[in-house]
């Protein structure tokens, strides 16, 4: 395993870069999309709630691979040329946004309705109360689950290997097919994934204990 790591250090490192890059871009994108749909889900208008719920339910119940392959196959065939990395990252973003929407919705709902009523009765508008009172409190509640979503993203970004996304898994596949040493290669890839995900998951467990029980 050590020889694989030292000999293919460059490829593994660039794979790690693509994995992290895709995960971070997908996280930011899905935070934006997820927040929008979370706000739709708690809207006072029935039809807006309906759209929010439908989006979340549909995306959550379809495999990530189907979404990602959909972007990778359909978009270049019928619309514009995009590479595997872009298609994969968009797929990850859409898939994760549904889970993030659920997380944020739960966070907002956990902030008591009294907070909203209090804010409204001192003269804030709905959106002011949301931005200044509810969301800041909800953020603290949702940071540990969002961290866990990021860990999932890092792991899920391995689907980029299906669409030639140059990520860690893809590089692992290439290294394995050139060295024929599948055992050590995939162990090495596993170590690289664990370097990112293990510390993060322990950090999130710590924050969960510290913030949620407080």
């Amino acid at each position: 395993m050590i020889t694989i790591i030292t000999e293919h250090w460059g490829e593994l490192l660039s794979g790690l870069g693509y994995t992290l890059g895709s995960s971070v871009i997908a996280l930011i994108g899905s935070l934006v999309i997820g927040t929008v749909f979370a706000l739709m889900e708690i809207s006072t208008y029935k039809w807006v709630r309906g759209i929010g719920r439908t989006y979340v339910e549909i995306i959550r119940n379809i495999p990530l691979l189907v979404i990602t392959m959909g972007f990778y196959v359909i978009v270049p065939t019928f619309f514009v040329k995009i590479d595997g990395f872009t298609a994969g990252t968009i797929g990850l973003m859409i898939y994760t946004s549904a889970f993030i929407a659920e997380t944020i919705r739960a966070g907002i709902e956990a902030v008591s309705t009294g907070q909203m009523e209090g804010a409204r009765s001192v003269g804030l508008t709905y959106s002011q109360a949301m931005i200044h009172i509810i969301l800041p409190q909800a953020v603290k509640m949702v940071i540990p689950p969002l961290g866990n979503q990021f860990i999932n993203l890092v792991k899920n970004s391995s689907v980029l290997a299906f669409v030639a996304g140059f990520d860690l898994m893809y590089q692992g596949k290439i290294i394995a097919s050139t060295t024929f040493n599948t055992f050590d290669t995939y162990l090495a890839v596993g170590v690289f994934y664990l370097i990112i995900t293990m510390p993060l998951s322990y950090l999130m467990r710590y924050l969960e204990k510290k913030w949620v029980t407080a």
Binding site: I62, G70, V154, Y193, M198, S201
Partner: protein, 222 residues
């Protein structure tokens, strides 16, 4: 439009349903195995036996933090080099089981921790042994708490079987790929079909879980 509709010919639909059957088979077998192993692992982590629980916990954490795809690759491509040769279906089942039992172990552990320690103490002071208290008092209550997360884990298991197409498991996704590989006009209809079939299967599962949850919470009140 006619080209699109041709994709849903009887032969193609039959082929998709064959794939769905493989998906269901692999999912159900993995669910059963990972439920048993996950419960044992979760208990092993919970009981806090010196060293043993720490080791079990560490193994669970490692597996949970690896991508399933990597575990699939490992079982199918790497294990043969140490003499364990599995064909596609068993390899998929083994990989899914390894991954999902680690996930379930965490659910079981946190479910048991959520049942108040007072329950255990009361059972013990009534004269039950630790194992009896676990079996008759703590576990039944813990399982009730665990049902929603366990079902959602099973939903992700069903979705995750699609990853096994990379080792050419002839499941729903793989069969759809074979069909749209023949004709570019079949691409969109096949993805629509894939999304629809997975959605129906998983949506039914999640609704069943909601129903079960409601029923169980009602029986608790009575």
């Amino acid at each position: 439009m006619q080209e699109f509709l041709n994709a849903y010919s009887w032969v193609n639909l039959r082929f998709l349903l064959d794939g769905l059957w493989v998906t269901i088979e692999v999912s159900v077998v993995s669910i059963i195995f990972s439920f048993i192993i996950g419960t044992l692992l979760g208990l092993g982590r919970y009981v806090q036996v010196k060293y043993f629980s720490a080791i079990v916990g560490f193994i669970i954490d490692i597996i949970r933090n690896l991508p399933l795809l990597l575990i699939l690759f490992f079982t199918y491509f790497s294990l043969p080099s140490i003499g364990i040769r599995l064909s596609v279906v068993p390899a998929s089942i083994v990989a899914m089981t390894i991954f999902e039992s680690a996930m379930l172990a965490e659910i079981v552990r946190s479910g048991i921790s959520a049942v108040a320690t007072g329950q255990m103490e009361a059972a013990r002071s009534n004269g039950l042994t630790y194992l009896q208290a676990m079996r008759y008092i703590v576990m039944p209550q813990a399982f009730r708490k665990m049902i929603p997360p366990i079902v959602s884990q099973f939903i992700s298991l069903v979705k995750d079987t699609s990853l096994a197409t990379i080792i050419l498991l002839p499941d729903l996704t793989e069969h759809a790929q074979i069909i749209y590989g023949q004709n570019v006009n079949y691409v969109i209809p096949m993805f629509v079909a894939l999304a629809a079939i997975y959605f129906v299967v998983n949506f039914v599962l999640s609704q069943a879980s909601r129903w079960l949850e409601k029923r169980l919470s009602r029986s608790k009140i009575n």
